[in-house]
Structure formats: structure tokens, C-alpha cells
Symmetry: C2
Subunit: 757 residues, 2 copies
């Protein structure tokens, strides 16, 4: 590997020949890098097939009034020379605090290109007439670091500290991902504030035509930016059978990346989406550089209120941009590329971090049979002006002592670790959408929620309460109360908090996925760690593997969760896509386990979950998370107590995970070995077409017998017409046997395998 | 006073006759209020002369996507009916914690107009065909409350809680102040971020032509918005000798008000100022209502990053809008109207709040002979990445143990209470202008500042250190560290902090005078009060009398302070204007006392202060503040120790204050009686033309004798050619005597009068 003379190479060789080539450890993946007419350019092959065609890398910088004071404005786009190339190899196995496997191998070949820009500016003024000074010479260096794995690559920009690159503002990052064909994509509309959309499946060339109908315009915060803008993680499949996924890793103090597709109709990048009045954010303006070829995705960062994408101080780096690729869909699910690209754990004592199964006072309010708020007597609430002891209760408030005790009893009886209680604290009367800053104090319980009594009661039964902090996206208000709110949790024995960011961000104009908000979410996680508190953040940014570094970040939402089953429902294939997309960056608190799917059976809500009971059980395996909720009502579980046995039994931390079958939006089958045991659990989930799973039990200990319980769809089960039809079969199995299981439309199965001693 | 039939009145009577009339207690001021074609309208007379011609009142509301959820959008501009009128009188005398007088009389007649808007919207949908529902009727009520004093009026809008006015966003407040003529105005360019301008003196009709040159474009944060935009407090003088001042009182969780002048060239309100690239803020768009007549000021609030002016939740109210008026300029200075319109003190135990004289490690850095920062070895600093004990010092860092001890010794020797030390904490290497969020932690001292030793040393000598928190306007960073920073202060015995907000606000797009920033400043003051800490906030919002309610807010800058004497200097009349304008809302930490005015005498700085030494002494009286700095270097004071005796002697808290002479931008003479004593101090300050003060000592105790020391300009003193020429005369005086004192150009005098026992 050496630095060739580019000019000569251009004359003598075709483009690919002049580039530096870096192979993955097994050689399946080949990265090519070069500097083409001053622009950093990479491409990617998998087993000789084009994955990423030659694509430019760079950043456009914003102009700013402080330029004269040292804020750099010169773009990091072109005029680069390749100064140095370095390669190295890395192979290490590490153990996550919790996860799908006990050991994770981090094995890659690394390539670092050191690039420089040089230019001159006018000579400094001189007092001496006749004396001529030399022009000032400037030289700026950046690095692009690639890590080439067997299942994909990561690359990032690194900016060393230097006089000509000290501070800069990002107009936008222009990392290109040029696709080799009109792939099928599973995509969400690119949006600065939400991912609570249903995934679209279509060709790249069809995205523009599908865009408007794909947007969930009714969501509490929507800010789409381009008719071909899509979110990551973006899963694709090529006509010749390659599975390609684009995402990012280790996004900390940087804006979340979206992708803007250049298609045949694209005239310029980052043009405003007509008719989108749902964002105040100014248009950052088109790129000043030539448009790449169609089927190229270009990175598009989330702006702040002024339309700028980031404020940077060297030394610093961007998050990793990742491209995962395989000809086997299962590799997309078993990949640890995102986690590997994150920093090792920064929490020294992690003994207080633990996987958790929980139930909660939640679903009945989501469905509409109860309220978070305590009174109906005020058009709006000012926290400091109400004597809650004198307020007239509305009778529908669910976070009351009696109801919470009922859930505690249920948790204790069924071996669940914690009980989430939403609506425990004052302020829910007018909490959302009204640009109200001081919406909650996170400390004052409603009069019917006896925080001391309930925590004592729970603890006496071996159960903990799970704290809830809905912020209404009023982040300044949350930060002002954070320390005291965590102190309260410590005082009463909470060790986990579910946070929420519903609605538009306050301060107004900011977005859920901006640099400042990403900084905020991580600030909360770090502050929580000081108090030994685990965080499960809803409506926050999409995860990028930060849970490796901060394993007290045990969950995120950042997608369309089970709550949407009460808001009209999601398609049956929804949960067969999420593991390929949303879950790449970290676990999702999907809150599975709805047994009574037709909500009108117990409420006035006409919505329904498009899933069978057996399918619901499967989600505890196919949707990996260290945090698993049994989301339905206790009384609904009591009706199907034999099926609920699986939820009682299933683990949520694993020594080993084997994806047995997978196809995006069709089916996923996975076997997992419970942490520290010899017991296995297997789950299979399919789309609306049903699926026949074939499970070879060759991962079991040879020669040993296992008590096997199979929770399967009944023959006539169907997510719509017969969702509660399931069978429970018990038998003894051993390694090498094959199980064939028929999954109903919108169904699935769950299996527990207990080693017979 | 009764509610007349408006329609009838319109037909039968001239406009002024139909209005309700409210007189001030002594009858000199007459307010008229009516609803004219649905718009609230007021006018003001003083001794029969027009002060405010009929002017409309109202607010335009912003359109918002959340309107359908209950965010009200209907303007509060027209369609009003006058439902009810109430009047009352109030007369109370209260005692400020500190101030110009021991007692303050709050005496006014109050008038409250209750106004309603009524409208209909389409009937609700119905399932029953044939059934027709009635249209929905809406009714909305607001109050406008006027308080009519003998020296002016205050009015505000009040918004009761009601279904049709629950939450709203302000596009802009449109309170009009229609002037009766082309008055002379002393004005600053209206700016969302700074008041560090030199005051302009010209006719209203000349403002537009003078605007661009009036802007201090070099300031660290500039955001002007209109070529006729001016700041409050705005002092004017009419051709017939009326002094008129427009300002506001009690601005808490609301944007700071500017005034936009409608002149002959005005085409529309709130049009963008061409060529002002110094703000990212979107243009809020023109008003939808007819333009008022020329010479009308219209309120213009400071926007947030999205261009909106405020988010409101009822019940709530605006700040008071004030119009002070008199035919005697001295009444402008002695008025307590702004304080009276603020809420009484909310701090129960105020024993820890005290007036303070201080010196500090500050002026030598401002002038350029030393640095706040400790090292020159880094292009930029990341606080968590530097081991300060290993950093190479630059040798110019002034907040070092030895230098601080020198100031402590100086303070102890001269009876000064505290020593401000700027540059004590890490982060000054790259603190400003670079959009850096995590710029300071407010807790880590530089290695050469031994915080424990220095505080112990100071306390052993009866002196305290005065804390400094420069925030770089990175407000989120400050709030994150606030509690620990205050704990540090408590630990080491600090009881006062000077805060600073240099540069553009972070989060980017926000402004120093916005609703959210006004909330921030007050948040800091309230948090400080919990820790028994006094606050002196620099570059914060302009004061509106909040120090009555929160007397631990002992000072603000919010104007061009003494520091500008090192940045090119201010005009000699500058300090003869500030008491009429900036000081209306509360004391200014002007940091007076420069004795060596030609800075090149001890530094390389060619700038100089346009003032004589006697003039400098006068400022301790004419620029009222409970916080007074002796800003010059100890060694400079030692050269003029006889003059410095006055600074040692002068009080900074008062039982009585009598303004003896005053004319804006020309001269101010004031006598003050030191709190709890029988001693008086008199100060006179004049502009570049000099002044002969005539002081009748009729306020002294009759028949008693006083030791009188007069610090006066020498005969040939001059702010430029001979600034250090002063005389000190001692004599014995008694009540009834008259002193005539000649003030040099840019000069003044100071007198101490000590009762002979």
C-alpha cells in the first residue's frame, strides 16, 4: 500500500487502479480510496460486487461574522493533497455489560488518509513603504479514518488542532454513498424530529413519488426537509442479492445524519420541501458543489434554529459513517459493527446496571381508558400557583395508590423486576404542544400517589418502581431540575428512568436530532450515571451504539413503538423491519406483549394490534433489548396465563445469539442462550404472509436433553381474524433435531429450552 | 368616571371628549382612555400639554401549527368592546433594602379597562343529518391597567385564564406612543443584544439619517433591526420644555421592548435593516395593521431564534410600559415610578444583602497590560483535556496570588469591602466568539490562584473576594454549573458575583434581550438568593426595576461602561445622560474612579478617559449604585491619595437624595444623605462645556455646622489638556449657605459634609 503519484496515475490508469485498496480481514470487503481532482473519494466492493461506487467525502463550512477572529470558513471539500497513508490491524474481544452475546469480537483493518489543503492569502500590511512581504501561506490537515470489517466499513473525519482549523461551523457534511443500482430500500422520511413513521418499501427511484404519503404528518413534531430525504439506519437490498445498510456510530456532540437521495429529478441538494410548514428552521441553502450521479445518497445533518449544522472545535472528529454489507440478511442482524466503532465503557463500576423486565401504569392511558392528569378543572396549569391538595380529582387518574399497588402485586407475583408509573407527577394537565417551558418539576407527586408508601410497598415485595420523566421537550426546564429529580430517585430507591421528549423542542427552533440535543441526551445519561440511574429515553435521538460507552443507556424509543397500536396500528411486517434498521444503533424499548389486540374488547378505542399472541411472545427475542416490558394490562394477561408463562420465563440478557432466518420485512428467527445458564430461547416473527420456520437445533449442547415448550400460532390463527389462537406444546428435544413451525399471518412463535439435568 | 356608549359618543363628541379621564393625585397628569373603532386608545396630558397623542394598544399573535390544539392565534388588536371600567387609588410608603432614599412613596390613581372580543366560528360537526347546530360563540377578555402617578404613567396588558385565551405566541406587541412633536431625543440604536453604544442626541426626524453611524458595529454581539429602532429608556425633550421618558418596568418572563419610530419615510413596521448580516434571526414580517402617524413609537419586542417574540400562558401580564413626564428635568432623576411598578421584595431575610465598595483585578487587563488567560500555548482549550499543573504560564496572567494579595492589601488599607478578581478560573484562553459551549466550569482556579489561601487572607483583613462568572453567553453551560459554582462560593465565603454575557447567545439564534434570556437572568438571581449571593450582571438585559423584588440584584451593566475608556473612550457628556436613561431601571456597575485618564502613562493603550479627577469623584454620587468600584490601579490612587480620600469616605447607601440641578447631556448635581448618619455628600458632573453649580445648602439640619471638604476642578482643569488638576478645600458650612462651584469641561466636583458634633 503506497501513495502513488496521482497525476501520473490519472494519465496511465483507470480510476480504480490508482486508488489505495484496503481489504477486510477475510478479504470479502474491499475499500478503495483516492484523491480525485483534489476531492477525497472512496468506493466499496463486496465479493467483487460494487456496493458503493466512487463517492466524494467532505464538509461545507458556514460563513460567520466571527471569521476574522479565527472561525474558519474555507470548505473542507476540495483542493486536497494526499500527504500520508497509514494502515494497521486490530483484533480484540470485549464483553459488554449487557447484550446479545457475552463476547464481541472487534476485528478490522484500518486505513488512515492524511489530507492537506494549502493556499495563500494577501501579505500582512506593513508600515515600511517599499518593503514587500510574502503572501501568507496556509496549510490545513484533516484525516479520514476507515475501519474495514468483514461485515462492512466505518469511516470518519478527524480534525487535528491547528492554526488554520481551530473552530468551524458546519453548513453541511457532504459524505456521499453512491449506490450501484436502483435498490429496494426500507426507508423512513428524513425528519429532524421524529422516526415514528411506518417504513416504506420501494425502489430508490420511487422514493420521491412516495414521500408525502410516507410522512406521519399528525405526529407531535414533524420536520421533513427534502422529498428524497431518508433516515438512517437505511436498509437496502440490491437486485443481485446484496443487503446494504447505511447508518452511523458514536454520534455524541454532533448533529444526527440523514441521507438525501440524488435521483433523476434532483436539481440541487438541500432544497426546501414545499408545503412543509412544520418547521421554523431556515433553509441552509444549496450546496456549492457539483451534484453527484443519481442513486447517490448525500449526508444531510440536522440543523439548529439558525439552519447551521454544527459548531466544532479541534481536535475533534465526526461520528463514524457506516456501510454494512452482506449477501446473507442474517449478517445484518448479528453484526456488531456499530457497537465496535464506539468507545469502550466509561463507567468504572457497572454493578448497578442490570437488564430489567417490567410492567407499568401506561397502556391503559395510551389506549384511552385513563388519564395521566389528575384534574380537569383548569384550562392550564402553573405549577407554582396550585395547591394540589385542594384540587378536584377527575377520577380517571391512573397513577393512584390503589392502581399502582395492583401493578406492584402483579409484578411481584410474576417475577417482573419493576413497575413503570406514568402520570405520577404534577403538570400533566397541559403538558404538550403549547410551548410551555415550566411544564414539570419531576419532583412533586399528585396527591393520590404516595411516593414513599408505594416504593416501600414495592420493595417489600422485591419489586422496584421505574421512574418517568416526560420533559415535553422543554430541555432547559429538565436540566434545571435534573439534579434534584435524580436525588429524589436515589432517596426512594428508583434505579431507572424512562425519559420522554414529546413535541417540538424548547428552545423553539431547535430539533430533536440537532447537535445541541444530542449533547443534551448524553448529558442526562452521564448525570444519571453519577447517581447510578439507568436511562430509557423516548422520542430522543436515534441510537448510534453509545450504549457500549454508557451502558446505563439501557433503551431508547426512536421509532414507531407499540403505542401506535392504539393510534391506528402498524403493519404486521413492522417488527420484521425494525431489527434491520432502528435496532442497529441500540436496543429499543418497543414495549411488546399485547395479548388483547382488539382494544375495543376493553376500551372505546377502535384501534388494534396487527399481531397474534404467539407473535407477541416472539418479540421478546426478535426485538433485542435488555429492557423488556409486559405492556398489556394485568387482567388481560390473567386471561392467558399459560401464554404469559413465556414472558415470566424469558431472559433479557444473553451469552449467545444466533440468527437462524431473516429477510427484511418478511421474517426473523433467532435463538438466544440466556446469560449464565444453559437455557435457550427461540423466537420467530413474520409479516402478513405467514412463514414456515425451519430450526436446526445444532447449537444445543451435543448429547444433552432439553425441556422444550413451544408457544405457536394455532393452525387457524391470523393477526386480524383469530389473533388469540395459540398452542402450547411441551416436549423433550436434543441437539441436531429440526423443528418446523408454521407462523400465521402476522404471527410467530416462541420457544423455551431448559437443559434437563 | 363611567362607561359611555361609544358609538353614540363617536357621533356626538370629538374624540377626546368621549374618553374616560384619569388624573394623577396632584392633577398634573391626565390620562384619557377609550375604545376607538374597536381599538384600545389612550392619550396623555401634562399640565394641559399633549405628551402622548391618541395611541393604539394591542398585540399581534403569531400563527402556529398547534392552533388547532388550543394555541390562540386571533390578534389582540381590534374588535374590542369596553365591558367595564374600574378606578381606585393607592398610597403607600415602603422602604427599599438599599437605595437612594430610605422611604419611597407609591402614590397613584389606577384605572382598569376590561375589554372583550366576541366572534363566531362554524358549528361543530354533527352526525345527525338535518340537525343544524348553532355556530360556536367565542368571547375573550383582556384587561389594560393604568397607574397614573404625578410623574408619569405605567400601563400593562393582563390576560386572565379563559378557554379562548389559554396559550398564545406573540408576533409583536403593538403599543403605540405617539409624540406630539419632533422632540429632541437621546437615543441608542435599537438592538437585540447590546446597549454598549454612545447616546445620540438629535430630533426624532433625524434618527433615520443618523442610525448607521450610531451603531457600535464592532461590539461582540450586534443585532439592530430597523433604521428607526431605538432602545428604552428613551429620554426626550419637547420644544416647549417637557421632559418625556419611555421605558418599561417589571420585565420578567417576557421579551425586552424596543421602540420603532414611525417617521415620514416609514412604509411598514418591522422591516429588515438592510445590510445587517449580524443576526441570524428571521424577519418576523410586517404588521398587518395600519401604520400610525409619524412621530409615533411602536413597541418592538426582542425575538427568539425563530423570529417570534414570546410564548404566553394565561393568567399572565406584560411588563409595565412607562411614560415619565415633567417640565423639570430633575424629576426624571428623582422619580421612583419604575421601582413602584415592580412587586415588593420577595426575599424574606435580606440581612445578607449590603451595599459594597470594591476594587479589583480588572482594569489592568481591560487596558491591555495583563491577561485573563494563563497560557499562550494552545490555539484552543478543552477543559477536560488539560492538566493545568503542567501548562506553561504566559507570565501576564493577573489573577495570580501575589497580585491579588496586593489588591486585598489595598482594599483593607482603604476600607473597601471587596476585591473582584477576573480571570481566576480556567477557560480564558479562547473564551469568546467561537460558538464554544463548554467554555468555563466556574469552579477550577488557574494554578497560580490559590482560592482557599486568598479568601482566608482577605477575610483575615476584613475583606471579601468578589466572584466572577463570565459565561460567554453560553447560558446552558452556565446553568449546568450554577449550583456547584454557588456552592463553591459559599464554601470559600464569597457573597457576591459579577456575571458576564459577552458575545452572541448560545443556543445560537437567541438574543440577549429575548424572553428566554430574561427568564435566564432572573433564574440566576433567584438561585443566587437561595445561596445568599448578590448578583451584578454585565451584558445582561437592561434593568426594569426588578431590584425592588430581588434586591440581591445589586447591579447591572447594560450600557457603555468605564471599560470603553480603554476602547477609544466615551464622550464627556456620556455620564450626564446615563442617569436619565440607563439608570431608570436600576443601578449600573459603571466602575468609575479613573484617576490616570491618559492610559499611555502606564500602558501601550492610546485610549483615554474624557474626564477630570474631580469629575471622576462626582460619579460616585451622580451615578447612583449600591455597588461602587474604585476601578483604577492601586498605584494610580496612591499618586493622588488626597483625592482618593473621597472614595474612602463616600457612602453607597442613602437615606435621602436631592437632585439640585439637571439637564440631559449637560449637567447633574445631587446631594445625598448617607444611610443612618447625618452626613451628606454632594456631587456635580458636567459635559464638555463645563458648568457652574449653584448649591443652596437648605437641606442641611438648621443651625448645625458641618465640616465640608470640596474636591473641585482646578481653575485650569480640562478633561483633555489638564485632567489631574484639582483642589481640595476644607471649611465649615451650615444650612442656608450657598456654594458656587465651577466645573471644568468634562469635569465636576465632590463634596463631603460631616456634621460637627
Amino acid at each position: 500500500m503506497k501513495h502513488r503519484n496521482i497525476l501520473l496515475a490519472l494519465l496511465l490508469l483507470p480510476l480504480t487502479a490508482m486508488a489505495t485498496e484496503v481489504k477486510s480481514p477475510n478479504g470479502n470487503i474491499v475499500l478503495n480510496f483516492t484523491v480525485e481532482e483534489g476531492r477525497p473519494t472512496y468506493s466499496l466492493l463486496y465479493k467483487g460486487k460494487e456496493v458503493v461506487r466512487p463517492s466524494h467525502l467532505g464538509l461545507e463550512l458556514a460563513k460567520d461574522k466571527h471569521a476574522s477572529l479565527g472561525l474558519n470558513e474555507r470548505d473542507l471539500m476540495d483542493g486536497f493533497l494526499l500527504d500520508k497513508e497509514e494502515t494497521s490491524s486490530f483484533d480484540e474481544t470485549w464483553q459488554p455489560v449487557w447484550g446479545e452475546t457475552r463476547d464481541i469480537r472487534n476485528h478490522y483493518n484500518e486505513y488512515v488518509a492524511t489530507l492537506s489543503q494549502q493556499w495563500q492569502t494577501a501579505p500582512p500590511a506593513t508600515d515600511q513603504p517599499g518593503k514587500r512581504l510574502q503572501p501568507r501561506r496556509h496549510r490545513r490537515t484533516i484525516l479520514i479514518r476507515f475501519r474495514v470489517y468483514d461485515d462492512g466499513i466505518g469511516f470518519r473525519y478527524e480534525f487535528p488542532q491547528q492554526p488554520d482549523l481551530n473552530y468551524f461551523l458546519i453548513k453541511d457534511e457532504r459524505s456521499e454513498f453512491s449506490m450501484a443500482g436502483d435498490h429496494t430500500a426500507w426507508w423512513l422520511p428524513g425528519d429532524y424530529d421524529t422516526q415514528e413513521q411506518e417504513t416504506q418499501e420501494c425502489k430508490l427511484s420511487e422514493i420521491r413519488g412516495r414521500f408525502r404519503e410516507a410522512v406521519n404528518w399528525g405526529n407531535s413534531s414533524v420536520a421533513v426537509f427534502s422529498p428524497t430525504g431518508v433516515q438512517t439506519s437505511l436498509q437496502m437490498k440490491s437486485a443481485d442479492g446484496l443487503y446494504i445498510n447505511i447508518h452511523e456510530a458514536a454520534c455524541t456532540d454532533y448533529a444526527t445524519m440523514h441521507l438525501e437521495l440524488v435521483d433523476a429529478e434532483t436539481k440541487a441538494l438541500s432544497t426546501k420541501l414545499e408545503g412543509n410548514s412544520n418547521t421554523y428552521t431556515p433553509n441552509p441553502g444549496p450546496s456549492a458543489y457539483p451534484l453527484p450521479r443519481p442513486f447517490t445518497f448525500v449526508s444531510h445533518l440536522t440543523p439548529d434554529a439558525t439552519g447551521l449544522k454544527g459548531a466544532m472545535q479541534t481536535p475533534c472528529e465526526t461520528p463514524w459513517r457506516t456501510v454494512m454489507v452482506s449477501d446473507d440478511a442474517r449478517d445484518m442482524l448479528s453484526s456488531n459493527l456499530i457497537l465496535n466503532l464506539n468507545e469502550p465503557c466509561k463507567i468504572e463500576d457497572t454493578s448497578w446496571i442490570h437488564p430489567t423486565k417490567y410492567c407499568g401504569v401506561w397502556w391503559e392511558m395510551i389506549v384511552g381508558r385513563g388519564s395521566w392528569h389528575y384534574t380537569n378543572d383548569y384550562p392550564s396549569i402553573k405549577l407554582d400557583q396550585i395547591d394540589w391538595s385542594k384540587v378536584k380529582p377527575n377520577g380517571t387518574h391512573k397513577a393512584n395508590n390503589e392502581n399502582v399497588k395492583r401493578y406492584i402485586d402483579f409484578a411481584a407475583k410474576n417475577g417482573l423486576d419493576q413497575v413503570l408509573v406514568e402520570g405520577w407527577n404534577v403538570g400533566w394537565e397541559d403538558w404538550a404542544n403549547m410551548w410551555k417551558r415550566d411544564v414539570f418539576d419531576f419532583q412533586t407527586p399528585y396527591p393520590d400517589f404516595d411516593i414513599k408508601m408505594l416504593n416501600d410497598y414495592a420493595h417489600s415485595k422485591g419489586v422496584k418502581l421505574l421512574m418517568h420523566h416526560e420533559t415535553s421537550s422543554s430541555t432547559q426546564n429538565y436540566e434545571r431540575h435534573l439534579e434534584k429529580a435524580f436525588q429524589l430517585m436515589n432517596k426512594y430507591g428508583y434505579d431507572a428512568v424512562k425519559t420522554g421528549y414529546v413535541g417540538d423542542i424548547i428552545p423553539r427552533g431547535d430539533h430533536h436530532y440537532s447537535q445541541s440535543m444530542n449533547n443534551h441526551y448524553l448529558y442526562v445519561v452521564k448525570e444519571a450515571a453519577k447517581h447510578h440511574i439507568m436511562v430509557n429515553a423516548h422520542e430522543a435521538t436515534r441510537p448510534t451504539g453509545l450504549c457500549r460507552t454508557w451502558p446505563n443507556l439501557v433503551g431508547n424509543e426512536s421509532a414507531r413503538g407499540t403505542e401506535y397500536e392504539a393510534f391506528g396500528g402498524s403493519r404486521p411486517d413492522h417488527t420484521c423491519i425494525l431489527p434491520f434498521t432502528r435496532l442497529q444503533g441500540g436496543p429499543m424499548d418497543y414495549t411488546p406483549g399485547i395479548f388483547v389486540t382488539k382494544l375495543k374488547e376493553w376500551s372505546d378505542n377502535p384501534s388494534w394490534a396487527r399481531i397474534t399472541i404467539a407473535g407477541s411472545l416472539a418479540l421478546y427475542l426478535t426485538m433485542y433489548s435488555p429492557l423488556q416490558m409486559a405492556a398489556d394490562l394485568p387482567e388481560n394477561y390473567e386471561k392467558f396465563d399459560d401464554a404469559f408463562q413465556f414472558i415470566r420465563d424469558v431472559a433479557c440478557d444473553w451469552d449467545e445469539s444466533i440468527y437462524l432466518e431473516a429477510e427484511p420485512a418478511d421474517y426473523i428467527t433467532v435463538a438466544r442462550k440466556a446469560k449464565g445458564t444453559n437455557n435457550w430461547f427461540i423466537g420467530g416473527k413474520c409479516d402478513e404472509n405467514g412463514h414456515e420456520a425451519v430450526i436446526k437445533l445444532d447449537f444445543l449442547d451435543k448429547g444433552r436433553k432439553y425441556d422444550c415448550t413451544i408457544y405457536a400460532d394455532a393452525k387457524d390463527a391470523h393477526y386480524d381474524t383469530n389473533p388469540q389462537a395459540y398452542t402450547i406444546t411441551k416436549k423433550v428435544v436434543k441437539a441436531g433435531q429440526t423443528l418446523k413451525l408454521k407462523e400465521a399471518p402476522g404471527g410467530g412463535f416462541a420457544i423455551s429450552l431448559k437443559l434437563k439435568d
